[in-house]
């Protein structure tokens, strides 16, 4: 009885569950009454996408996916800050 098979199955199931949580967050991004609701939901979806990328790097054994995850986190953060500044000031300057 090896725990490695259980571990691989757990990571695959975890990636699928996080994907379902992304769809649940998409409900709030579509139906949010105000604009900051949508920005918050999209920020959360970015974090969950980062988790999915790292889980896929473990499942397929491709370690350079971690670099992609780092770049994705950076771009998600910069996008969120930019949209929030645009909401606050009405311009991006």
């Amino acid at each position: 009885m090896s725990t490695a098979g259980i571990l691989d199955f757990s990571y695959s199931l975890g990636a699928v569950l996080v994907m379902l949580m992304i769809f649940l967050s998409l409900i709030r991004a579509l139906a949010g009454p105000t604009a900051p609701d949508r920005v918050a939901a999209i920020n959360i979806m970015g974090t969950k996408t980062l988790i999915i990328i790292t889980l896929i790097a473990r499942i397929y054994g491709q370690e350079y996916f971690l670099d992609i995850a780092m770049v994705y986190a950076l771009m998600s953060f910069v996008t969120t800050v930019g949209i929030a500044k645009y909401l606050e000031k009405g311009a991006l300057d």
Binding site: T3, A4, I6, L7, S10, Y11, G14, L17, V18, M21, L24, S25, I27, R28, T34, A35, P36, D37, V39, A40, A41, N43, I44, T47, K48, L50, I51, T54, L55, R58, E63, L66, D67, A69, M70, A73, L74, F77, T80, V81, A84, K85, L87, E88
Partner: protein
């Protein structure tokens, strides 16, 4: 040696399940809570902790080079996620969205 391997695997599964639980609680709060500030309050902390737990569960399974990269990712999430939530809440407050408790007090 093999008992140590099995113990690390069980610890990884426990961290993974904990991270999934916190991510689900954060998503549930994003769907069910009544206000922008309440939703930010729920999702930011739960998502930061859930992502940290899942990446820690992956770092227990990997070699040292990948573990350092995962630790960098954890530190990056711990820095940027509260900053993004703060910027969103500041934008919501500056654009005139009143928190729900103040709204009830001003209606009376």
């Amino acid at each position: 040696m093999t008992w140590l391997r099995i113990a690390v695997d069980i610890l990884s599964i426990i961290f993974l399940l904990g991270g999934l639980f916190f991510l689900f609680v954060g998503t549930f709060g994003l769907l069910r809570l009544p206000d922008v500030y309440n939703r930010l309050h729920a999702t930011t902390k739960c998502d930061t902790l859930g992502a940290g737990l899942i990446l820690l569960s992956l770092a227990l399974q990997s070699s040292l080079a990948i573990g350092i990269r995962l630790a960098l990712l954890i530190i990056f999430i711990l820095v940027t996620n509260p900053t993004a939530a703060h910027v969103i809440a500041r934008a919501a407050y500056k654009t005139g969205i009143v928190p729900i408790l103040s709204r009830r007090a001003s209606d009376d």
